[in-house]
Amino acid sequence: MSSPLPLLHARGVRKRFPGVQALAGVDLCLRAGEIHALMGQNGAGKSTLIKVLTGVYPPDQGEVLLDGRPLRARTPLEAQQSGISTVYQEVNLCPNLSVAENIFAGRYPRRGWQGGWAIDWQRMAVQARQLLARLHLDIDVTSLLSEFPLAVRQLVAIARALGTESRVLILDEPTSSLDDDEVGRLFTVMRQMRDDGLAILFVTHFLDQVYAVSDRITVLRNGGLVGEYATATLQAADLVTAMVGRSVCLDRQATAAARGDIARRTPALEARSLGRRGRIRPTDLSLCAGEIVGVGGLLGSGRTELARLLFGLDRADHGELLLAGSRTVLDSPLDAIRHGLAFCPEDRKGEGIVAELSVSDNIILALQSRQGIWRHLSSPRQAEIAQRFIDLLEIKVADRDTAVGQLSGGNQQKVVLARWLAISPRVLILDEPTRGIDIAAKQEIMDEIRRLAGQGLAVLFISSEIDEVARLSDRITVLRDRRKIGELPGGSDEHAVYRMIAAGS
């Protein structure tokens, strides 16, 4: 039931930031009653475009029309009042408040004298129920938010953004923390809202989701518009080509599985019933030079806990760790670094980057730590190392001295990877290195991992995307319920991993 007249129309939008042309003449046509996917790699300009649409940034050139009239919103609040609601990637809700309180936080309905000094709890509950009914969600709005699964919280976030008069809903990567069932539930609601006549702009990195739910696709690349397509007529391979600008092989690439001699070498890292009470049960694991061992398992299966034990972030209370054949007790990450271990943590913002420091400082941080405080790397040396890895990993940054927090997610991840490559590690532990980054950067990082393994690095590759693990690994260790349930040879497909998880042995 999509109507031909665009509800929200961006025309020739240009936006420039110091050193970067973020948007170079982009058009976007959003019609009532459609789900419109906005696709593009990190740095393509998706976030900037959304911020222009919601009034966070004024465009340098071009205009945004709502119902054919120029949009005059200068803040997200004004945009919301004009009918454009946005749910950002990071859901900023308070789990310790009730559902209704979350929905109305900061704008509680009031009652009493002179516009109200008291909160009208009853009216709040009624209105919250009405808003959630629009999302076809029937839950107890007075319960704490923390009692509900992530998918419901995502819907509550949408309800929070959605006023009764909203006509445009912008969802910025709403599915990145949801599992398959929860995604399905969200999509059901999105379709119902579309059929109610809402225009939905949907940003995601997952190709299958785009095909599952969207009607049209707009693709951006390097701040420019590539095109608008009807989803039904665009092949997945063509979509990827449009996003990346060159064709990418999505198929399984030949791993160096033929490295039969690996088994006879001394493992670079070997865990013998290594475990820690309450975190991960005693686990055996071996990892040889030149080998990529994947760790597959669902959320909560103990993947990250295992990595933290191996890197000395947590102390093991069971079993032993052998590095290059000799028993080692790791007391701290620094200890692990001195033994040639490197660890890209899962939580890039919280444990990876030091956001306000420059790209250069971030890259040399681990190397400098290993050198100690006195053997300071000179400025030219720092610059040389940083530039080498910026070039090697093709980190897109105008200047080494840019604060790393200003980079896109994929480039931040590359900076963390560069930090660890700079210490020339023997063992590299990667915990979700491809989370939240676009498909081309993903491919680049996976190619880089494979190249490093080819040079003799031992890689432990942890990912929640089992197909990635299956594609990349020479062997796959499968975890479930905080213990290792088995190992699969390289070349196994993701279904074999799922079957093993399901069987639980």
Binding site: G19, V20, F311, E351, L365, D399
Partner: protein, 357 residues
């Protein structure tokens, strides 16, 4: 646009940069001061050293400069140390009690005798202050206390400790050589200035020629990421607090030497707040990370200039704290980028209205 191949000059962010506002404030304050008190800029060479109000300000600012330097490092790690005033009092008390001093006339020649050798007394005072800092650091880094609570303990207890050492009395020091620290001159300039300058230079050297500056900033911005990257965050945090205690100890020596006595109650009173203010005036954020040593030194000079001005122009003592607070308020407003933007847009808006009929 994205010139990743172009080598950009490597900028160092610690120590320099962003100093124009603190500097401007200091110059402005000196200018106002000079208008109200024409004698201010007058320097005189007498008895082999420089005399004048400016020299006096520098001399009196030395303890605050020292404490501000230590405080800068603590604040850069996202911490705070509100015990420095008490530690100044402890160091002053130890130095006072251990030196004491009497005038002994022997064969008609008067000579000053201290209770313990002066170097020993000074080492004990500074060493104890260092231990105080170490205690703070262990509470913060090892025990995991909130910095403001951890140092609150010593802030409260420290004055009591100082009282215990001095036996509740104001100890007067009668040992002439000790007075050189707070009142003496070397090559025409106050000795205290050399001490503060030496600590500044050493610290500046440490943060720019070793990895200390990088590590401290990394800890202040993201302690977890710093630890994962191998930074010895606990050790460095403890050292930073210990150093802050050390600077308070040296400041205690200068203070007690300057007033020739040790007063457990009043030595270094409210100095922690002046130091935090100096660091903030110098452009270091209380949220940790980026810091500026030169900025803190300028901040300390601003505060001392202000204090001196208030005394010099004869503000009645009962209102001088209010005057000081007002000036600090204005200075902080001027240094706030948000406030300046607000003023600028307020100035621009009428202009736009007249420009567009």
């Amino acid at each position: 646009m994205v010139g990743s191949g172009l080598p950009a000059p490597a900028r160092r962010h610690w120590g320099g940069g962003r100093l124009q506002w603190p500097l401007l404030t200091l110059l402005l304050l000196l200018g106002v001061n000079a208008l109200l008190n024409p004698g201010l800029l007058h320097l005189q060479w007498r008895d082999g050293h420089l005399y004048g109000s400016l020299i006096d300000i520098l001399n009196r600012a030395a303890p605050l400069i020292l404490v501000s330097l230590g405080m800068t490092m603590v604040i850069a790690t996202r911490g705070i140390d509100i015990s420095v005033g008490a530690v100044v009092a402890i160091a002053a008390a130890i130095a006072g009690v251990m030196i004491g001093g009497t005038l002994v006339i022997h064969d008609g020649v008067a000579s000053h005798v201290s209770r313990f050798p002066m170097p020993l007394a000074m080492a004990a005072a500074v060493g104890t202050a260092l231990l105080c800092g170490l205690w703070n650091g262990l509470l913060v880094a090892r025990v995991g206390m909130q910095p403001i609570i951890a140092t609150l303990i010593l802030m409260v207890a420290g004055r009591g400790v100082a009282q215990l050492i001095t036996g509740g009395q104001i100890i007067t020091i009668y040992y002439e050589p000790y007075f050189a620290i707070g009142n003496g001159f070397l090559l025409g300039l106050p000795v205290a200035l050399y001490i503060a300058g030496a600590v500044w230079l050493l610290l500046q050297f440490a943060v720019s020629r070793t990895a200390l500056g990088l590590f401290v900033q990394a800890i202040g911005i993201n302690p977890v990421a710093a630890r994962v990257a191998g930074v010895r965050e606990e050790l460095i945090t403890v050292c930073v607090y210990a150093f802050c205690g050390f600077t308070a100890g040296v400041a205690g020596l200068i203070v007690s030497s300057n007033v020739k006595s040790a007063d457990g109650n009043n030595a270094g009173l409210l100095m922690e707040l002046d130091a935090i203010l100096a660091v903030t005036l110098g452009g270091t954020l209380l949220s940790g990370g980026r810091f500026s040593l030169a900025g803190s030194v300028i901040g300390a000079l601003i505060i001392q200039t202000l204090t001196s001005t208030i005394y010099a122009i004869g503000v009645p003592p009962e209102v001088n704290l209010v005057v000081k607070a007002l000036v600090v308020f204005v200075v902080m407003l001027l240094q706030s980028a948000d406030f300046r933007a607000l003023v600028r847009s307020a100035l621009r808006r009428p202009a736009e209205l007249t420009g567009q009929p």
